[in-house]
């Protein structure tokens, strides 16, 4: 069983549009939905589809991801044969270097296919929220005698410029492929899920590696090339929920959708469990006088204040008088008495002083440092930041990781930036 299928998961991207959330961790390691990491969805899809041999390609800030995956135990990927292996960039081989693009990352790891007796190679992205049975993809691929099958989903018209958009003929064969087009000819977007015939993949990657001017990327170079050459490249239409939580706004929206009456993903489906590292925390403590509504609250939280429309990760403490509204608060962040958080994303281990207000006022001035990522009214507070008592932080503000109380000289206006000891900006 374990040796018949193999998947590469690309988990090395920078994820810069997620701003502070992926400043110090790879995007697949960003916490999501109150207890998971983004990559849990892809890893769980693999094992729930019967794929127990997985290589995870890392490059950008991998520590948090490596610690999370560890030996692969929650996914039953700690195995004698197969299991999960971290594939880091390395020195020492003839072609050794950093991964240049998605195709290059696989090319540099072709050695892992050498002794694996698989007919196909599944290439996945560790960045997406979806539950998919890859067996359907394998079935489609074989029925169509495809050389490569690309899983596709329909995206809204105003988002086509963020994805690889493709056109198909009536049989589902791809006839056009454009990466992030200005004027799209269809709404079918590549999900970054590719199933290749093994031998063809090897041949194509070797060709691509030698091609001058190639950026060595599946979406930008390899797939458009194959389509142009008339290779049997097929699109498999995926009709369920799929979300690229690539921006702060989409991360926030996707999280809050889980609170709706009919959430797009059933996290409690016993037939498709999303596996993750266990946190060894006691049940949630709802204390006397607390008010909690329309929220997801994970084990280890202690709540005496008010929580509405929010997602709380393990160990968040909300004392009497404190309020969390329409926000996402990650592991072990602690609010002071009467602190109010409104429309904010608070990373792990943040301390919010008594009477502090995060996300305050009607001023919607976009963020001074990254207006392109932070203009919809959200505030972001980086991991381990300490906010002083009674401080007011306006909308679209950004407070860097590990900022201490001494960094604040006055209230932070809308669009303001308080950078930490070390920052990517």
């Amino acid at each position: 069983m374990s040796s018949s299928r193999y998947a590469f998961i690309l988990a090395g991207g920078v994820g810069s549009r997620l701003c502070l959330l992926s400043e110090r961790r790879a995007k697949p390691a960003v916490p999501f939905a109150g207890k998971y990491r983004i990559i849990d969805f892809t890893l769980s899809n693999c094992v729930n589809s019967g794929i127990y041999d997985v290589g995870v390609l890392t490059q950008y800030r991998p520590t948090s991801l490596n610690r999370h995956i560890a030996t692969g135990r929650p996914w039953d990927l700690d195995r004698t044969h197969g299991g999960v292996q971290i594939l880091q960039p390395s020195l020492g081989a003839i072609d050794s270097d950093w991964y240049q693009g998605t195709a290059d990352a696989i090319y540099r790891n072709l050695a892992h296919l050498r002794r694996r007796r698989v007919e196909h190679v599944l290439v996945l992205s560790g960045d997406h929220i979806y539950t998919m049975d890859y067996n359907e993809l394998y079935g489609f691929h074989e029925a169509n005698r495809a050389a490569v099958t690309v899983a596709v989903t329909e995206v809204p018209e105003d988002q086509t410029n963020q994805f690889g958009i493709l056109e198909t003929d009536e049989a589902g064969r791809i006839v056009g492929f454009e990466e992030k087009p200005k004027h799209a000819r269809s709404r079918l977007a590549s999900m970054g899920v590719y199933l290749f015939n093994r031998d063809a993949l090897i041949q194509w990657l070797v060709e691509d590696a030698a091609r001058p001017g190639s950026r060595h990327d599946f979406g930008k170079d390899l797939l458009p090339q194959l389509v142009q050459r008339g290779e049997p490249v097929f699109a498999h239409r995926f009709r369920h929920y799929w979300q690229d939580v690539g921006t702060l706004d989409s991360y926030y929206q996707t999280s809050l959708e889980l609170l709706s009456e009919r959430p797009p993903i059933d996290l409690g489906n016993p037939e498709w469990v999303i596996h993750t590292q266990s946190a060894d925390r006691p049940p949630v403590r709802f204390e006397h006088g607390c008010r909690v509504e329309r929220s997801l609250v994970a084990n280890g939280c202690r709540i005496a204040g008010e929580v509405t429309g929010s997602v709380l990760f393990p160990g968040v403490i909300v004392p009497k008088g404190a309020v969390i509204r329409d926000s996402i608060v990650m592991h072990d962040s602690v609010l002071g008495r009467s602190a109010i958080i409104d429309r904010a994303i608070i990373d792990k281990e943040v301390e919010i002083g008594e009477g502090a207000r995060v996300g305050f006022g009607d001023d919607q001035t976009p963020n001074r440092g990254c207006p392109e990522h932070l203009s919809s009214g959200l505030c972001v507070v980086g991991k381990g930041a300490h906010l002083p008592d009674n401080i007011t932080i306006g909308r679209n503000a950004r407070v860097g990781a590990h900022v201490t109380r001494a960094f604040f000289t006055a209230d932070v206006p809308a669009g303001g930036v308080v950078d930490g000891p070390e920052s990517m900006h």
Partner: protein, 419 residues
Amino acid sequence: MTDAMALVLSGGAGERLGVLSAERAVSAVPFGGKYRIVDFVLSNCCHSGIEQVGLVTQHVPTSLHDHVGAGRLWDLDRRAGGILILQPYQTRSQSGWYRGTADALAQNWDAIEERRPERVLILSGDHVYRMNYRALLQTHRDRRAVLTLAVARVPAAESHRFGMVTLDRDGRLLTLVEKPEHATTPYASMGIYVFEYEVLGELLRPRPVDLVHDVLRPLLQSGERVYAHEFSGYWEDVGAVGSYYHANLELLAPEPRLVLHDARWPILTRDEERPPVRVFEDATIEDSLVANGCRVHGTVRHSVLFPGVTVEPGAVITDSVVMADVTIGRDARIDRAILDKCARIGDHARIGVGTAPTDPAHAWLEGLTLVGKDAHIPAGAQVGRASVIGIGAHPEDFASSTLAPGTRTPNRPWFQERS
């Protein structure tokens, strides 16, 4: 790493937990919103550096085995040492049901001998507490004792529940009286013993039955060095419905005596792989512990909810313990009840109605209503206080929709035909 091997006694029949332990060992009864009782002792072992643990089982051990598995959760899945299940077994000459605690140890002495520990730490699998056994073992070594008992101070009114011990100024044990009505000492034996390995081996040779009567007492009388180690933390024997219920609800106090969220001493248990608690628009939750996987619409007050409990709109749960995957129907009322796993409470049903009977036969329930695992309470049914609904009960067990206080319905095997 210590040189002691722990033996956890988990074989008792646990009649005082009624329907909760009819089909599982007391140690495997769920506790505290996500744990099993045995998690406390095994976590104590793990955090005290004890790497060899024998688990003595006899009474319906399946769910205990399921839970403990290879002991990985407590880092007891080891190449050498680790966890060892000590079950009753047959030999050519005899069938070896355990006649008592000492007999259980004697029958397994050959297995213990193979591990060659210097000391044997005997624990009960029915207690909830957080204790560093290193301190106990240190007292034992310092006193050069052959036997050291852990003791706790208990209120005079409760001495009838315990073996009470008197000590001299050095902590040496003078007398032991079982369950006295009036005690002259505040010290209760916790049922936690450290024996010198060689000494215990000798004492078990004549095949004694009960550890206290046939081993401990003669040892004390022979004048050997028997000492006490005082433990001042929270400790509770939860092997009876009343103490089980109160220990659960005590976790809801503003400052509970049993701390569950100490990151340096986590209570380790099997991960349920459930999503975070989902609290809906129409929910009210107060003074409660609610575990991952619960979905709450209605009202939950002063209660403990285990993973995967669904509370439908309008339902009200008060002062109750609700185990994993129970569903509470619309507008149902649950008051002072313990609902076992996977029970289904129909819409508008009421559990815990009226006044509990005062006769001695129902005293052990302390007015609580028990609903067995997989029981299905039909919509609109009224279940009187101090009733015990059997495991797997189904609507046909309800001749009328009202059960008087103190009613019992039979347990039904899961494979029994349902028409």
